[in-house]
């Protein structure tokens, strides 16, 4: 494998060893550990939602039986033990290291949606899809279990729930070979109906295998395997990935069917956020709308983005991203030969101060600002002392003279705004400000962003900047990290120090972010681009105000929560644009954000948008706006 970062999506990696050597256990811990501990992961329908690239497929892939079995047999290999621990924590492996579930991932591709177009009653269309899914699940379980060569199909024992004899007969009996043959027959018959150029006129003309009842999900309770350590009983787990492909009514039918309590198999449905309706995707209540049975009692819902505690979610993503990058890096012999096994070590964290000539220019600018704002020498000295005091006490090492001067500029402007304005005839000398002015980390953050825009001082560098620029999206992170790794690799090949200085990191991150934005090609992409550009422009204008009123700057606009809740009804076009903006990480929603005694929804710009516009990656700074103001940023509707 050349540069594994360029592979990005784990779907590309089918080989067990390669997959397991780069996959990180963090998503399992973050999203599955709690519901597993609460024992609501395998006994009822579980619906997992997330944006594209957020790791849904990785989770589902990792839970597949052949990966789980490979892992437990090779626990001593580097990196495997953490995966085993994570699988144990989420209940897929028991304390003795034996699998508890036999997972199979079935991607719900467009062919399943095709059944909704067939000219038959809803019940028939649903029955066909369910039959196809169940046949493929049976084949998938058998394939997963026998793939590693440890178990033979003939040795498996299917365990049926009591009182389901008729359904057992329909699935071909409990003999695994007969059950497989029946599944092959059903799959081919149903597939033929969906794929036909012209579908059969009526059910009477269906092949026999597609007409007969077929309900293995209603029957199966466990699969018993002859393991070297004694008999092993596993609960079948089916993971229906990309369920957003289905028609909403089709998905609702499917979910209703899978939510039935009498089912003994574990069943998960994984779907994308943007697949929900605008109302479902945008509104704060955790909902899967019509596609879902009653939440809570029948269903476990796991939202990979809509966490209440966003700070801890960001920290969790940073952990996951670091781990993932380190695993990818270990696959590259150029780095392991030189002892580079940590991605973060390739990124220099020292700031790159301004050159002496630029610094000189900045000094003169500070002088002229003080003169223009009538800042007395005493006041200036007091500010300088405050700044020095902050710099001495802070943990940050990025507090060189350039930062101190930029902080001084900000303090001077803040002072000028907070003292009574002098008139021609009434000069107030060195008045005390209405509100105390202090030098702190927030002012330093403002200084950094100002220096970036005024003098091109590198702003985005270090592992946290890479993580935050990815908006909690694993695939975007790997894209951005991949560029940096490629640069470091070139240096190694040229016998130079692989560690990348801040300036290069900044340049590569900006180019990477712009590349990601340029490649966006999805419904409403142009409208999303126009909207985010306009919001970014307004945020930038605010950020660059000389007194840095929002410290490090704005990265979002805020709409009153009650107004935001009305968007799907009052502004359907804006709702659709926001739905896809959220789905593709161009915008992140932070709902019920309390500030100034009001409840807000923040439309936070995605990491790549922030980076390409030179805005802060810190959250919290926002501009107050109304819904019409936001809708007015959309390009003219050409329809």
């Amino acid at each position: 494998m050349a540069n594994p970062f360029e592979k990005r999506a784990t779907e590309y990696l089918r080989d067990s060893d390669t997959f397991l050597s780069i996959v990180t256990p963090e998503p399992l811990k973050t999203f599955l550990e709690t519901p597993a501990q609460e024992e609501r992961l395998y006994d009822r329908l579980t619906i997992i939602t997330g944006t594209p690239g957020s790791g849904k497929t990785t989770i589902a892939s990792l839970l597949q039986f052949h990966f789980v079995d490979s892992l437990r047999r090779n626990q001593n290999r580097t990196g495997y033990s953490s995966l085993v621990q994570a699988l144990t924590a989420c209940g897929a492996i028991d304390e003795d290291g034996r699998p508890r579930v036999a997972g199979v991932r079935l991607p719900l591709e467009a062919e399943y949606r095709d059944f909704w177009q067939l000219p038959y009653p809803t019940a028939t269309r649903t029955r066909l899809v369910l039959a196809l899914l169940q046949a493929r699940a049976i084949l998938g379980w058998f394939r997963n279990i026998t793939m590693t060569g440890q178990y033979r199909l003939e040795d498996l024992r299917l365990v049926a729930r009591p009182g389901a004899q008729a359904a057992v007969d329909h699935m071909g009996g409990l003999n695994p070979v007969a059950a497989r043959d029946r599944a092959v027959e059903v799959e081919r018959a149903v597939y033929g109906i969906g794929a036909a150029l012209v579908p059969p006129n009526s059910e009477e003309t269906f092949p026999e295998a597609a007409r007969a009842a077929y309900h293995p999900f209603d029957v199966l309770e466990a699969i018993e395997l002859k393991d070297a350590d004694g008999p092993l009983s596993v609960q079948p787990l089916v993971m229906l990935d990309d369920a957003h492909t289905l028609h909403p009514n089709q998905l609702a039918e499917l979910n209703r069917n899978l939510a039935r309590r009498e089912l003994r198999i574990a069943r998960w449905v994984l779907t994308r956020v943007d697949a929900l309706t605008p109302t479902e995707a945008l509104l704060s209540a955790t909902s899967t709308g019509t596609a879902s049975p009653q939440i809570g009692r029948d269903v476990t819902h796991i939202a990979m983005q809509k966490g209440e505690d966003r700070e801890s979610q960001r920290r969790a993503f940073r952990r996951m991203a670091r781990d993932m990058a380190d695993r990818y890096l270990r696959q590259m012999p150029e780095f392991s030969r030189r002892g580079h096994d940590k991605f973060s070590d390739l990124l220099e964290t020292a700031a790159e101060p301004l050159s002496e000539s630029t610094l000189h220019k900045l000094r003169r600018e500070v002088d002229s600002t003080c003169t223009a704002l009538r800042i007395t020498a005493t006041r200036r000295a007091r500010f300088a002392e405050d700044i020095n005091q902050y710099c001495a006490g802070t943990k940050s090492t990025d507090v060189g003279e350039d930062i101190r001067l930029a902080m001084l500029m900000i303090l001077c402007h803040r002072y000028a705004k907070r003292v009574p304005q002098a008139t021609l005839f009434d000069v107030v000398e060195d008045a005390d400000p209405a509100k105390p002015i202090k030098a702190d980390a927030a002012v330093a953050a403002g200084a950094r962003v100002h220096l970036h825009h005024k003098f091109g001082r590198p702003y985005y560098y270090g592992i946290e900047a890479v993580c935050d620029a990815a908006s909690d999206n694993a695939e975007q992170f790997l894209h951005l990290a991949g560029r940096l790794v490629a640069k470091a690799e070139t240096r190694i090949v040229r016998n130079r120090n692989a560690v990348l200085e801040a300036k290069l990191q900044h340049t590569e991150l900006c180019a990477g972010a712009e590349g990601i934005l340029r490649a966006y090609d999805y419904p409403f992409a142009q409208e999303v681009e126009a909207l985010t550009k306009a919001i970014a422009k307004q945020c930038l204008d605010k950020t660059l105000e000389p007194n840095a009123p929002l410290d490090g700057g704005a990265s979002a606009v805020g709409i009153l929560q009650r107004d935001f809740d009305a968007i799907p009804a009052s502004q359907p076009r804006l709702a659709s644009v926001l739905q896809f903006a959220v789905g593709y990480n161009a915008i992140t929603l932070a709902q019920n954000y309390g500030q100034g005694g009001k409840n807000w929804t923040l439309l936070e710009l995605g990491g790549c948008v922030l980076v390409s516009n030179g805005l802060t990656l810190r959250r919290g700074g926002f501009l107050e706006r109304t819904v019409p103001q936001i809708a007015g940023l959309l390009p003219e509707d050409e329809t």
Partner: protein
């Protein structure tokens, strides 16, 4: 070893030959021709109709397929309306069939709707059906061609099936679009790709590289689990560096995620569908015996670029039941000023079924 091929030899024409063929072949007063053409914004929409109507006159009828996509811009609608009016003036005996490409939930349903639209119109009494693919998307044109072919093969009276394309690769490459975000199989071009028994098969993907469809191709690759990739680049081509320019755009994919060996790049003449057809069948035939005794081989096509290559891919897909994977266009963006058609464009004709292939008819 090469097997028997349905379209080798193939009756096909290019440029002036096509015009000459149309003028002589359709001059026979016994011929009654049905034209199936796209009634969209594409400036190529009416060229074949003009050529046929000048010879056939009243003996020509047409089904104008109008592909409806959500929220089209006013400019696109106006251009499509103008093209439909022009087509109707050229072929007075014509009907317009509007088909929805997307369902209300965004699912791709155009191919199925197109087949239904053609099915409800009788082909009785027609001696020739010409499908003009120039202004039809592959999601619509492929199922239509397959349906007409199957109908003609089983019809009691002989029906000749022709496909025409105004090849304009530069135009195709310039066309910007917004892709739907779901990878689909073209309706009725599923092959056995999705059968569980094929999940272990060695999958070879033959995408036609196109800069305008780069993100769509990336999406297809991500969804496909392909073992090998043999991208098609245009060569020879009217613009000598067209292939290189496209390859340059795809460098990250070719070198990185797709891991394409330089020897796996397929060069096919950009305006010769039969060359594309033969090339794909050559690959398929060389590969099949290698995997025959084990996991079996599956060749998957994604002819998302120029129309001529799409036609060649269609022929290969029909003959070998190859799956065709694509990403449907959600909408098209027109450049501020549409490039007018020039004399560089070549009208292609391929005769797919009928009296040109008496041996094949006998077999059927």
């Amino acid at each position: 070893m090469k097997g028997i091929r349905r379209w080798q030899p193939c009756v096909d024409h290019r440029g002036p030959e096509t015009e000459q063929f149309a003028r002589t072949y359709f001059a026979d007063p016994e011929r009654k021709c049905l034209l199936i053409a796209g009634g969209g914004f594409d400036p190529r929409a009416s060229v074949a109709a003009g050529l046929l109507s000048s010879t056939l006159g009243e003996r020509l009828s047409a089904i104008i397929v109008r592909e409806e996509r959500p929220l089209p811009s006013r400019r696109i609608v106006a251009l499509a309306d103008a093209n439909v009016r022009l087509l109707q003036s050229l072929v007075t005996n014509s009907i317009v069939e509007s088909i929805q490409i997307f369902d209300s939930d965004g699912a791709v349903v155009g191919g199925r709707n197109a087949v239904e639209a053609i099915r409800k119109n009788s082909l009785d009494g027609v001696t020739d059906v010409v499908i003009d693919m120039s202004a039809l998307s592959i999601g619509v044109s492929f199922p239509i061609v397959r349906y007409v072919l199957e109908f003609a093969e089983h019809a009691e009276a002989r029906i000749n099936v022709h496909v025409m394309v105004l090849s304009a690769p530069y135009h195709d490459e310039q066309r910007r679009r917004v892709s739907n975000d779901v990878v689909s199989l073209v309706h009725s071009f599923h092959g056995d790709l999705k059968l569980h028994s094929r999940s272990e098969s060695a999958k070879l993907w033959i995408p036609q590289l196109s800069v305008a469809k780069q993100s769509a191709l990336e999406r297809i690759y991500a969804a496909g689990s392909f073992d090998d990739v043999c991208p098609i680049l245009p060569f020879p081509s009217s613009h000598a560096r067209a292939g290189e320019a496209i390859a340059e755009h795809f460098m990250e994919q070719l070198d990185g995620a797709w891991e394409v060996d330089a020897r796996n790049i397929v060069y096919a003449c950009e305006d010769d569908p039969v060359d594309v057809y033969r090339t794909i069948l050559d690959i398929e035939e060389q590969r099949r015996p290698v995997f025959e005794g084990t996991v079996k081989s599956v060749v998957v096509l994604s002819p998302v670029g120029s129309k001529a290559v799409a036609l060649g891919s269609l022929m290969a897909a029909v003959e070998r039941a190859l799956p065709v994977v694509y990403v449907e266009a959600l909408k098209y963006d027109l450049p501020a000023k549409e490039t007018p058609m020039t004399s560089d464009e070549i009208m292609l004709h391929v005769w797919l079924h009928g009296e040109a292939y008496p041996a094949a008819e006998q077999r059927l």
